[in-house]
Amino acid sequence: MHDILRRAEPLTPPVPAASRGFGRLTLDVRQNLPAWKQAVFVGSSLILGLAISVAILAVAGIPPLTLASELAGVLTAENLRGVLIQAAPLILVGLGASLAFRIGFWNLGIEGQMIFGGIFAAAISIYDIGPPATRLLLMGMAAALGGGLWVLLVVFLKLRFRVNEIIATLLLNYVAMYFLFHLLYGAWQDSKTAFPQSTPFRPFERLTDIGYGVNSGLLIAIAGVLAAGWMIHLSRIGFYTRFIAANPRMAKVVGVPVRTATIWIIAISGACSGLAGFVNVASQEGRLTQSFANGYVFSGVLIAFLSRNDPIVVAIVGFLIAVLFITGQTLQVFYQIPFTMVQMIEAIIVMAVASSEFLIRHRIRWIR
């Protein structure tokens, strides 16, 4: 009898966790958390993220007080104009990202879609298509089409061959970028300056100020916010997106046109990014340049994330990120900090909010 017991010994006797003398952490999944508590979690994470950012800037040589006065300086009329110009493309990429994220399509191809938006818009200018009066409208429509088509390529690959959209959209950014370079160093190069940029747009091809320091690009962004808000909250396709995100198999069985709705939402997401490209080339740059889309993937994801994919909140967050950008530019000029520092602050905020998401979904308990 003893023999059998001896042989029943395992190779290594396991030590039960409870006998180690310490407690341990466990995670419980939360069922439901009231909205105000969620807001408290997100808000305190945001403050923590900003505090870390301030600390890092202090180490880099910018005392917190100076930082505060620089932030206050943003609110002068001239800086505010810059903020509003900057806010328009940020809000549009935020919309692009949040619409796609709503149905679980991880669109990281915002830059590529912006580039094609810019290229399509510039093509209207370069080939001189349509009468001057409707030129801007045509350019905007072309930009939306360009961004939409570029992302639909990935939608096709995903639906037909199950290609992962995260990788596909991200890598196609480089394809778009080199195609842009191909144009700017080749056929579309400005012959007067020989710089790698297109010839400047004509005056009626540019988004100009409409008074009070507000650029017409911002109107496009606001129109986009209202349209997306209506689509998500009031229209039928918005209702469908919630089911597609929550349970696509079930959605299909109960009669939601999953495929059609998915394709449309993602195409509109690409179109938003395309419009962001148009706003950038037609307001800030006034021509197609090499770098008009740089860094927007990250900003778009950040804005979508902070706004929890709600189009109306996207507008607010987009504005705040624009403030961060303009402050960052000032710091860059006057304190010689690199622009990567601004991107790092963005990253810290994303991580802080991401961790708050975890706390909203789980409860951490200490068990003795």
């Binding site: 009898m1 059998i4 017991l5 042989r7 029943a8 010994e9 395992p10 190779l11 290594t12 006797p13 396991p14 039960p16 409870a18 069922q31 439901n32 009031l234 229209s235 039928r236 396709i237 918005g238 209702f239 469908y240 919630r242 089911f243 929550a246 349970n247 198999r249 079930m250 959605a251 299909k252 069985v253 109960v254 009669g255 939601v256 046109p257």
Partner: protein, 500 residues
């Protein structure tokens, strides 16, 4: 000599539903002990208690006569109890050796892996298996993966080997090979427990058989001295009286399923020329041991999968076997799937949205540009009241907060809101308590009285017997036998196992 593993008076309930009701079981070294029973009889639950995965509410466990308490699977392993689950617990991108090492941790990775590899080779040779310790699991066939599971458990020092439905995933030849190896293993001194619902396996390979029914162990006997009929009767139990009701009137055919064939992505044919018809005002029950294509049949009928061949003809709509969801909705087909949260509800969305979603397209809740949420709310409140859905504080609360029975009532409220002509119900009372179960059955009978054609797919033979006008037995993706009401329970039980 004491029993190697002894379970006595085990009780276990899940969320109020009793899964094990005083079950007792004894397994000896050197024997293959079969545990036979229908689906849901409690076989797997009992063995999960033995493997330390479930903590029993009451009862005792002893190993070699010494009482023990199992606080987890690691402790069960240390007592020499090893279980091979029906769904393998292997890390697919890892090699066999890495998987065995993961289950039997060593102090040092590199030297541990070397030791493990030797131990695996020894076991593989002893059992005459064919697997290579350095092959990745995802390059192996199902039979080879099962060998890896068995080796993993034996390298861990198991003296009591529990195999949960080991032949369910194997071809006939593979199953015979495995059972012969298992028999040899028992002869060399291991106590083997074979959880199964296959009578032939029990008759040919088991030394002892314990039969479970309704969470109880009803008999332990020697399979060689009992007939298949006796075993079947013990497994399915006695026939209970059927409820009275109006006889079926024999209306026109509403649904015809013709030679439906479906092959899964992994190459297994799940539906193999499935054919049957259902008339108006008739409940057609489909009985069978689970895994014989019932799930796929239900999915094909509700449009979750695309059958490769055959037709699903519906009166007035024609062949809908490849039709999209909207055409199926137009054909007035209601779907009550087995897995509510997979196919019927979006748990994270409000009750109101879950009720409205099926009729959004018809325009009942507003146009494309503007949804009519007030109408949704009105209808939802009415449906919750009509179908007696309990636990609803607001129709805006998440559907996942409802209990199983109430979630099912919600599904039925949505699916019956447009008076369906055809109802596909798959295990509609799974996991429900008696009251909710009765309510669901009442709804199905009401639909029948109204003239709907109802397909009732269920692994619960009692449910099939009490509700159905005609019963088809499904085995290996085909209807192999049909019975008229009142059907003989024993005959159905035999049809289910004879063809398996």
């Amino acid at each position: 000599m004491n029993a190697a593993l002894q379970l006595a008076g085990i009780r276990k309930s899940f969320d109020g539903a009793l899964a094990l009701d005083g079950a007792s079981f004894e397994s000896r070294s050197g024997e293959v002990h079969a545990l036979l029973g229908e689906n849901g009889a409690g076989k797997s639950s009992l063995m999960n208690v033995a493997a330390g995965l479930y903590a029993p509410d009451a009862g005792s466990i002893s190993i070699n006569g010494a009482p023990i308490s199992l606080s987890g699977p690691a402790l069960a392993r240390s007592h020499g109890i090893g279980m091979v689950h029906q769904h393998f617990k292997l890390v697919r991108p890892f090699t066999v050796a890495e998987n065995v090492l993961l289950a039997n941790p060593k102090a040092h990775f590199a030297s541990g892996l070397r030791d493990i590899r030797d131990a695996i080779k020894k076991q593989v040779d002893a059992l005459k298996f064919s697997i290579d310790p350095d092959r990745r699991i995802d390059t192996m066939t199902v039979a080879e993966q099962q060998q890896a599971e068995i080796v993993k458990v034996l390298v861990g020092g198991a003296r009591i080997l529990i195999l949960d439905e080991p032949t369910a995933v194997l071809t006939d030849a593979e199953a015979i090979g495995l059972l012969e190896i298992v028999q040899r293993l028992a002869r060399s001194g291991t106590a083997v427990v074979l959880v199964t619902h296959k009578l032939q396996d029990v008759k040919r390979y088991a030394d002892v058989v314990t039969i479970m029914r309704g969470g109880k162990t009803v008999a332990t006997l020697d399979p060689r001295h009992s007939t298949a009929e006796e075993l079947t009767e013990l497994t399915v139990g006695q026939t209970s009286a059927l409820p009275e009701r109006t006889p079926h009137q024999g209306g026109p055919t509403r649904l015809n399923v013709g030679a439906l064939t479906y092959t899964r992505a992994d190459g297994r044919t799940m539906l193999n020329n499935t054919s049957f018809y259902v008339r108006a005002g008739e409940i057609y029950g489909i009985a069978g041991v689970s895994g014989n294509g019932q799930a796929e049949l239900a999915e094909a009928l509700i449009g979750a999968i695309d059958p490769s061949l055959g037709e699903i003809w519906v009166d007035g709509a024609g062949d809908i076997s490849h039709a999209g969801p909207s055409k199926r909705r137009e054909a007035a087909i209601a779907a009550i799937p087995a897995d509510r949260y997979a196919y019927a509800l979006a748990g994270s969305l409000p009750i109101q949205d879950n009720l409205a979603v099926a009729q959004i397209r018809s325009g009942r809740y507003g146009s494309i540009v503007r949804l009519d949420r007030a109408a949704m709310r009105r209808d939802a409140i009415a449906a919750v009241k009509d179908y007696d859905v309990q636990g609803v504080r607001s129709v805006k609360q998440k559907a996942s907060l409802l209990s199983g029975g109430n979630a099912q009532k919600l599904v039925i409220a949505r699916e019956f809101s447009r008076e369906p002509d055809v109802v596909v119900a798959h295990s509609p009372s799974r996991g429900l308590d008696a009251r909710a179960c009765a309510a669901v059955h009442q709804r199905l009978i009401a639909a029948r009285e109204r003239g709907a054609a109802i397909v009732l797919i269920s692994e619960d033979l009692d449910e099939i017997l009490s509700l159905s006008d005609r019963i088809g037995v499904m085995t290996r993706g085909a209807i192999v036998a049909e019975f008229e009401r009142p059907a003989d329970r024993q005959a159905i039980g035999r049809a289910m196992v004879d063809h398996a």
